[in-house]
């Protein structure tokens, strides 16, 4: 899947440039709060519970300083992606132990039969392998320049 296609599932209202979180629980709560604020999605408790269950299954911090919290829930009707940066970094139980500074949160409905979110996850993970790009994303001044860096690779 093309990264521009993936970015159609997010918006400026779903971009948190400076998430503040002292630990993993607070980071997840902040991400869900951002999702609720940036959309008309309701029922944050359901989404948070799903994300916590997913993290208990195994940490989604699988990239260098990057996490991809994700899952399916009835609380959303379409694939929705929230992007957040945590400049100070937060312990998200990453395998390498490094703090997580960048989040791509993907929330999909159960009836996402085309598996859009798995394809989107794969595209994001592939895109983010470039160390120079990661630096650009952490330094991008706003949502537009963040997305421009993503699409320009």
């Amino acid at each position: 899947m093309d990264i521009a296609e993936v970015l159609k599932h997010t918006s400026p209202d779903l971009f948190i440039p400076d998430l503040e979180a002292s630990d993993k629980t607070a980071a997840l709560a902040g991400l869900v709060e951002g999702l609720i604020t940036g959309t008309n999605i309701q029922n944050p408790d359901t989404i948070l519970q799903m994300l916590q269950s997913r993290e208990n299954l195994g940490s989604t911090a699988v990239g260098p300083g990057i996490a991809f919290p994700h899952g399916r829930t009835l609380a959303v009707q379409r694939l929705t992606i929230l992007i957040a940066r945590c400049p100070a970094g937060v312990d998200f139980d990453s395998e390498d132990g490094d703090p997580t500074k960048l989040f791509f949160m993907l929330i999909a409905p159960p009836q996402d039969t085309g598996h859009q979110y798995i394809k989107s996850l794969a595209a994001l993970i592939d895109c983010i392998q470039d160390a120079d790009l990661r630096e650009k994303l952490l330094a991008a001044g706003d949502y537009e320049s963040f997305c421009a860096a993503m699409t320009e690779g």
Partner: protein, 112 residues
């Protein structure tokens, strides 16, 4: 939302996660994700299920076996399981007194 419906939604989300992990686990692992907590998740699922009223839990199991999903969202006054119209008396996000069922297919209704 009715507290029991909240539990049923959480249970279905968890069942979806377990099903996805079992059916597509290799695909996710290929992306770098690990699923070391699978057994703990199964235990958490049982713990959650034990909090649900036995008659609703039984209905949930029956519907899941029949349709795959027992709880479905109501969108545009339609049950998204069978697309039957939901009577206007049902259409209330603030109806917290009971868990509503679709009169046509019996699925449990959730207003997202």
């Amino acid at each position: 939302m009715h507290p029991q419906l909240q539990l049923l939604v959480a249970l279905q989300d968890m069942d979806e996660m377990l099903r996805e992990t079992e059916e597509q686990g290799e695909e996710f692992e290929g992306l770098g994700f690990k699923h070391g907590g699978l057994e703990e998740l199964k235990k958490a699922r049982e713990e959650l299920a034990s909090k649900i009223d036995p008659s609703l839990a039984s209905w949930y199991r029956r519907l899941t076996g029949k349709f795959g999903h027992a709880v479905v969202p109501v969108v545009g006054n339609l049950c998204t399981g069978c697309f039957a119209n939901i009577p206007s008396s049902f259409v209330s996000k603030t109806n917290v007194n009971k868990v509503q069922k679709c009169e046509s297919c019996g699925r449990l209704l959730y207003w997202p």
